[in-house]
């Protein structure tokens, strides 16, 4: 008699991988011009997909992010996952000091709090005011026309002298006494969630780091619950900026801070009011409170959601959570894409033994019920 | 008669506190909110003794700090300063010097608390019997049959229908919830029981029967009790001695009939005069 249980696991896994790979390359059967997706094409034409994966994967490596997108057939959760797993194998060589985001090389910058802000508003690349109509002409775009668009745009672009850095809107508010001063006691070292476990209560920097790597949709859903009524205050976007942040690292020999490159980031600061708190540094004056969000890549929804949740969590830690979005454990333990998608997937694994044990309990209680009846 | 509880200089301030907190709050200042730093001086320098089998009333209006007193002793809220000594047969415990585990042990084994809000005293997701079982299990009673028997006996004593022992408290009336709370508080036969506005908000007839029950239990078990209430009727009915609080301070203390008939402090005189 053969063993009935789960046999041939190895073969099944190999076959599953093979059929997935077939799907990736299936186009080769139908189109003679079919070519493998180039990493460059993903990097440029699917840039927001790449932005999402580097942010959720927690590694600024656009090329590998594009690779992960390619091998996962465009599944962002899977792609971010692969990037994270790769990151687990990398030794830590160095750490940057806190970087000054006022030094960002901006491609976009807006404030919904003021019409005029020091340095000026800059709309930059955004679909915010575009009509979401399907552009049917792209169904059959000629490579020639495709190449001409960017070239024409650059030729017609007026020469603009942009400053190297822009002042932050928050600094202006702070100078006016509308925001509490930055506490001198603020820690200069950020909590590293890749090296230390979250043990609640966690410092704000741990919460920020967790949200910076969070899955965009999860973060949005909880932030949305806060905006919609399971929360308190309508926030105002004091400043949203997208741009390239210079990364400084200590020089391996001299130890001097040296610019090692730049990363594309989205940063958002929201302000909202809450009651005057006599216990804070402001001496009882009512003041705005600030929420901060930032992530790799160009992902405005994520940065705004994070900023709203940062404010909500600070309030929750101070006054106790009045709703899920103010509860640090609720938010921080449920927004990670890799954790949540992995666990949802694991239910597909065999559970024969536990189910057998469930059966035993159910049958026993059923038979006891019968005895009583 | 022996002392069971000695409270000295109990104080609790919410907020950062400042050197002017004490002088700028209290009955004379007519506030418990420090105008200098915004702290709330919930109680300041509260002292009293409680003897075995005695019922002490703590009376005052909301904001007087009366609940804070029992919550501090029951370890619900740590006081800012002060001490409390619990005399337990041959041992004595300095309550606020104990570690958390020891405090929890005393809370489970030797104290009982009945809150105005049954949500604080009962777990609404487990049955009435389960609520009592929880306290017994905390005291390491591990025999299911014994737990069950004790839970039923307690519910019978507090006049909860035995057919409802396995029902969830959320399906009970307010008066019934208080009875279950009392049964739960009594599960470990504590020598010291705290009652925080237990009958407030209940219908008058229900209120009266709860108070009767408390008196009967006190006579039967000789449990020492601290009864917190704003209701002079409850004070008159249950307590032998009382302390009167206003804005966090004890302004008067005495035998209950003396406080009601010959109040000394202007505030107490007003309170008594305004009673129906």
């Amino acid at each position: 008699m053969s063993y009935v249980a789960i046999k041939g696991g190895g073969r099944a896994i190999a076959a599953a991988a093979a059929v997935t790979e077939y799907l990736r390359t299936e186009e080769g059967l139908v189109g003679t011009a079919a070519e493998p997706l180039e990493i460059n094409a993903i990097l440029h034409q699917l840039r927001h997909l790449v932005d999402r994966v580097i942010s959720e994967g927690g590694v600024y490596h656009p090329q590998f992010a594009a690779l992960a997108i390619k091998q996962s057939l465009g599944d962002t959760l899977e792609a971010a996952f692969a990037l994270r797993a790769w990151r687990s194998t990398r030794p830590r060589l160095s750490a940057t000091p806190p970087l000054d985001t006022s030094r960002m090389r901006l491609i976009r910058r807006i404030s919904s709090a003021f019409k005029e802000i020091p340095g000026g508003q800059m709309l930059g690349p955004t679909p915010d005011y575009a009509l979401r109509l399907l552009r049917l002409e792209l169904l059959d775009e000629s490579p020639e026309a495709f190449r001409a668009v960017a070239r024409d745009w650059l030729e017609n672009c007026p020469e603009a002298r942009l400053p190297d850095s822009f002042p932050k809107v928050l600094d202006a508010l702070r100078a006016e006494g509308l925001l509490p001063p930055v506490s001198a006691a603020r820690s200069q070292t950020a909590f590293d969630i890749t090296r230390e476990p979250l043990v609640f209560p966690v410092p704000r920097s741990a919460a920020l780091a967790t949200m910076a790597r969070a899955e965009t949709g999860s973060l949005l859903a909880i932030a949305y619950s806060n905006m919609r009524g399971y929360g308190d205050v309508h926030p105002t976007v004091a400043e949203l900026r997208v741009g390239y942040l210079p990364v400084l690292l200590p020089h391996p020999v001299t130890g001097e801070l040296t610019e090692a490159g730049e990363v594309l980031m989205t940063e958002c600061e929201v302000v909202a009011m809450y009651e005057a708190d006599k216990a804070n540094d402001s001496g009882g004056k009512p003041m705005f409170t600030v929420g901060y969000g930032a992530c790799f890549g160009h992902n405005e929804v994520k940065a705004i959601s994070m900023a709203i949740l940062d404010r909500a969590l600070q309030k929750g830690m101070k006054d106790g959570a009045a709703n899920p979005s103010e509860d640090p454990e609720f938010v921080l333990l449920h927004v990670d894409g890799v954790d949540s998608m992995g666990f949802a997937s694991h239910y597909k694994m065999p559970h024969y033994v536990t189910f057998q044990s469930d059966l035993d309990r159910l049958r026993t209680t059923q038979s006891k019920n019968r005895e009583i009846a | 008669m022996n002392k069971i509880l000695e409270v000295r200089g109990l104080s609790k301030t919410y907020g950062p506190g400042c050197p002017q907190c004490v002088e700028s709050t209290g009955p004379e200042a007519d506030t418990n909110l420090c105008p200098h730093c915004g702290s709330v001086v919930a109680i300041h320098d509260v002292s009293f003794d409680l003897f075995e089998g005695e019922i002490l009333g703590v009376m005052g209006e909301s904001g007087s700090g009366k609940s804070t007193v029992v919550k501090a002793i029951y370890f619900d809220q740590a006081p800012s300063s002060g001490e409390a000594i619990f005399y337990d047969s041959d041992k004595q415990h300095e309550l606020f010097a104990l570690n958390a585990a020891r405090q929890r042990w005393l809370r489970n084994h030797r104290f009982g608390m009945v809150y105005q809000n049954p949500h604080l005293g009962l777990n609404f997701n487990i049955s009435a019997g389960g609520n009592i079982a929880e306290r017994l299990l905390m005291s390491d009673v591990m025999d299911y049959g014994a737990i069950r028997a004790r839970a039923k006996a307690l519910l019978a004593r507090t006049e909860v229908l035995l057919s409802r022992v396995d029902d969830l408290p959320k399906h009970f009336s307010g008066g019934m919830q208080q009875r279950v709370q009392i049964a739960k508080a009594l599960a470990t036969r504590p020598p010291l029981l705290f009652l925080d506005e237990v009958s407030t908000g209940l219908d008058l007839s229900v209120q009266a029967r709860i108070l009767d029950l408390i008196l009967e239990i006190q006579q039967e078990l000789k449990t020492a009790m601290v009864v917190v209430t704003h209701d002079l009727g409850v004070i008159r009915l249950l307590t032998g001695r009382a302390i009167v609080m206003k804005y966090g301070r004890v302004i008067e203390t005495g035998l209950t009939d003396q406080i009601l008939e010959d109040p000394q402090h202007a505030y107490t005189q007003r309170l008594v005069a305004s009673a129906l």
Binding site: - | L255, D257, L260, E261, P263, Q264, R270, V272
Partner: protein, 265 residues
Amino acid sequence: MIPILQVEGYGKHFQLHEQNKLIPSSLNVSFTVRSGELTALIGPTGAGKSSVLKGIYRTYLPSAGRILYHDALGHELDMVLASEHQILELRRREIGFVTQFLHCLPRQATLDVVAQPLLGLGVSREEARQRAADLLSAMQLPERLWSVSPATFSGGERQRVNLARGFIAKPRLLLLDEPTASLDPATAECVIGLIEGLKAEGTAMLAIFHHPETTRRLADQVVELTSPPAVETLLKEEIMAPTLALLAAPTGGVASLGAALREAP
């Protein structure tokens, strides 16, 4: 007979903060109460008779004087200075107080109301109820009423319950504030009998009676309080007719400060 209670220079006044008034109630009252004797307080309305009883019992905080009590163990205690717990202990074991009004739980059976002081002394519930039943039948309270709350009783019935509760633990000192005021003649006679019985057993009593006649029958010593408060102690045989006429006047007095305050404008 041995003195059980010596009141020396007792004074009581009420300070009404709200109205900024000082109301004198008793001034410089002195007398001695002996075991097995009844001392009656007499005097016009407002002379502070009840104030003296309440001062002894600590329902009022005395303003002046000493109240020396000799307890069962022979210790002397100044009840003006005694701690609250000492007073409570005396109330439980030695000193009883029967007022004009019965304070009891409206939902408690009469038998339990009467038995209550015994429970405080550690007597078992069954025995306490038995002794309460004996006493109530001696006081001719119909048995059908025993299981009902006294709240529904007539004034006379209720007062009998009140007295029974005051008598049952056989206190060493019993304070009586118009115990026969609302009784019909037959019941009053019965109560007078009980008081005589207690006296014979050695209980010391300090009483205020509504009827001068009762005072005359029961008092071994009469203390006359005058209004405005002054005091002199008269022996029984020296009671004068004018005083008796004064005694017959309707009594109101300051029943409780709470009531006075409620009535104040």
